[in-house]
């Protein structure tokens, strides 16, 4: 694949390095001369100096033949411009954008940039995982489909302890495909009885999340 990466900071650099290793054709567009020098010294002539939001630069970079454009600059407005121009002006089907302000995710989606990576959200998710105060951890959210994969730990005093799964009144749009007990995975069935400290992984509609939270006695 021919992949254009807009932004030669740390994210762009390591992304390029990995993609080159996977034998893709890669070009980084970066404004800053110093960063360009470092990239070309380390990775070879795969960097072009210029403003990636400038259509003339995009054209010189061969945007119209790119299979994928990835915008990873530190400014959301630049990343949005790059993805929109790539799509609307150069007909690129697939674009991925880094997002700095998590609130911009739905704006990007409204504007047709469907693949976004929010660094802030990733760190927040990690905090959720590390700090048990938020007992429902989001592993993956498919917003368009209205479904999320969540994980919760069953508290020691939870009302669900000692009852079989089928007796818990789990909503119809919610499935529990995995229980992790003492570090080992169990594929549960209707007769499986939950214990305190079990990690429960559930696939649920976004509306049923709060129900699940209450059910498990998680705060």
């Amino acid at each position: 694949m021919y992949i254009i990466i807009a932004g030669g900071g740390k994210v762009g650099y390591y992304l390029a390095k990995t993609l080159l290793h996977d034998e893709h054709e890669v070009l980084i567009i970066e404004k800053d001369k110093r960063k360009c020098d470092i990239i070309s010294a380390e990775l070879g002539g795969i960097v072009m100096r210029g403003d990636a939001t400038d259509s003339i630069v995009m054209e010189e970079a061969g945007m119209s033949r790119a299979d994928l454009a990835i915008a990873v600059t530190g400014d959301d407005e630049d990343n949005l411009m790059i993805c929109q121009m790539a799509k609307k002006k150069f007909g690129i089907k697939r674009t991925i954008s880094r997002i700095n302000n998590p609130k911009n995710e739905h704006i990007f989606r409204l504007l047709g940039i469907d693949h976004t990576v929010s660094v802030t959200d990733l760190i927040l998710a990690q905090i959720e995982r590390e700090i048990p105060a938020h007992s429902l951890v989001h592993l993956l959210t498919l917003r368009e489909a209205g479904v999320s994969f969540v994980e919760a730990q069953v508290p020691e005093q939870s009302p669900v302890i000692g009852k079989p799964l089928r007796a818990l009144g789990v909503p119809g749009d919610c499935v529990i495909p995995l229980v992790i007990r003492n570090g080992k995975g169990i594929v549960p069935h209707g007769e499986t009885v939950l214990l305190g400290g079990d990690e429960v992984v559930a696939v649920t509609t976004i509306e049923d999340e709060s129900f699940l939270e209450r059910l498990l006695g998680a705060k």
Binding site: T53, D54, S55, I56, D75, D76, E77, D78, L80, M81, Q84, M85, K88, K89, N101, K103, N104, I107, L110, L111
Partner: protein, 138 residues
């Protein structure tokens, strides 16, 4: 008319003062507080410190219920994004963005979400007409 202006540079401040004098309800957003000095002492409108591409800042500026939104900061990308938020998230009826780059202007004009103004093309046309002597500056 309730108007939000993003960018308090020469154009933004001039427009803000003009609309304010005409009796409109004007709010200006800028990232630096010093820029607001361009509005002069008699400016009656509101000033909001922050970036025009942040929903929370736009709400604080009263974008909900605004009749017009004008994006004239010094960055094309900021203007385009601010204008898109105004149109798509807040459904402001009249949205105008200044874009210096003619290609970007053409692309966004074609998208049809906003009115676009390209000072580069306008200036070029005017100067061209003046120099080539056909006198009819547009």
């Amino acid at each position: 008319m309730k108007v939000i202006i993003v960018g308090c540079g020469r154009l933004g401040a001039h427009l803000a003062r003009r609309l304010d004098h005409e009796g409109h309800d004007v709010t200006v957003i800028d990232r630096t507080s010093e820029s607001f000095s361009r509005l002069g002492n008699d400016f009656q409108g509101k000033m909001v410190l922050g970036t025009g591409i942040d929903e929370d800042i736009l709400r604080r500026a009263g974008i909900e219920g605004a009749d017009a939104f004008i994006a004239v900061s010094n960055g094309d990308n900021t203007n385009a994004m601010a204008a898109e938020i105004a149109k798509l998230v807040f459904q402001v009826p009249r949205v105008v963005a200044r874009l210096y780059d003619p290609v970007r202007e053409d692309t966004y004009h074609t998208l049809g979400l906003m009115e676009t103004v390209c000072p580069t093309i306008m200036g070029s046309n005017k100067i061209h007409d003046l120099v080539s002597g056909n006198g009819k500056a547009r």
